[in-house]
């Protein structure tokens, strides 16, 4: 065998070993209880079997509501948001979740949002702000905040109400 063939075969073995390790890791994660759900392909699309206790009706309610809802860690990273919030920002849901909320708040609204969050540590509050959508356009909104402790960490719960339809001409010139 020439050197090239040996190299190709070695690369292939390396890749197969990686794939095998990945499959073993997946099975081990499932067996040791490190996963929260299993995804099973069905004729009507994927079905998700949750292994964690969850309140199904609450989840459906949050997903279906027309208000934007989100949770955020103390570091300002969006941990969860519903599709109504992503729609207000004209952004894909997966690009809002896991990323800083700050990016979607207009600069002039940043200080009031910070103040709202400070207030939310001890109580609740609601303010009017300008969100910033993907196109850089301001979206007037009410933002309400409260906070909870989840596994020892503070999590902010936010609700955003789109005011665009109530103020159709504001911010346009």
């Amino acid at each position: 065998m020439d050197d090239n063939t040996v190299k190709t075969l070695r690369d292939r073995i390396d890749e197969l070993e990686r794939e095998l390790a990945e499959s073993r890791q997946a099975l081990e994660a499932i067996r040791s209880g490190d996963v929260e759900s299993l995804v099973v392909e069905g004729p009507a699309g994927p079905r998700i079997y949750s292994l964690e206790w969850s309140i199904y009706s609450f989840r459906v309610l949050v997903e279906a509501i027309s208000e934007g809802t989100l949770t955020m860690g103390e570091d300002g990273i969006v941990l969860y948001c519903n599709s109504a919030f992503a729609k207000m920002l004209l952004a894909p849901l997966e690009r809002v979740m896991g990323n800083p909320l700050r990016r979607w708040i207009s600069e002039r609204s940043q200080p009031v949002v910070d103040a709202l969050l400070r207030r939310a540590i001890t109580g609740e509050g609601r303010i009017e702000i300008a969100l910033l959508n993907t196109g850089g356009r301001e979206v007037p909104a009410y933002l309400s905040a409260s906070s909870i402790h989840d596994n020892g960490e503070r999590v902010f719960c936010l609700v955003a109400t789109d005011l665009t339809e109530l103020r159709p001409t504001e911010g346009e010139s």
Binding site: E22, A26, A29, E36, V39, I77, L79, E94
Partner: protein, 108 residues
């Protein structure tokens, strides 16, 4: 660095290949989901020096996307770019496992 962000999974010509695209599959607001997001962001911030895009996919809200990356459980972290695609399922708290699983080497 262009700030354009799309959810397309197909790498385009001229794309900055040193930039990682990671996709994290989770289920809603569970504690494990929040934990996974924090752990992944921490590793990315420390080891990718800002050169990454993270997409977090809630499979309750976007079930069709789970099919694309052949997700069988959550949480699952997928490295989409640079190729080859890599998956890591379950506990993401071990930094070394995440770095190895995602082929991440220090980028400084």
């Amino acid at each position: 660095m262009p700030k354009t962000k799309t959810s397309s999974s197909v790498p385009k010509a001229g794309v900055d290949t040193s930039r990682h695209l990671l996709r994290l599959y989770i289920t809603g607001t569970t504690p494990g989901s929040a934990r996974a997001i924090k752990q992944v962001r921490q590793v990315c911030e420390e080891h990718l020096n800002g050169r990454y895009d993270l997409e977090v996919i809630d499979i309750y809200q976007l079930p069709a996307l789970a099919k694309n990356d052949q997700i069988i459980a959550t949480p699952t972290l997928v490295k989409v770019l640079p190729a080859p695609l890599r998956r890591l399922i379950g506990d993401l708290s071990n930094v070394n496992s995440v770095l190895f699983g995602m082929d991440i080497r220090e980028q400084r």
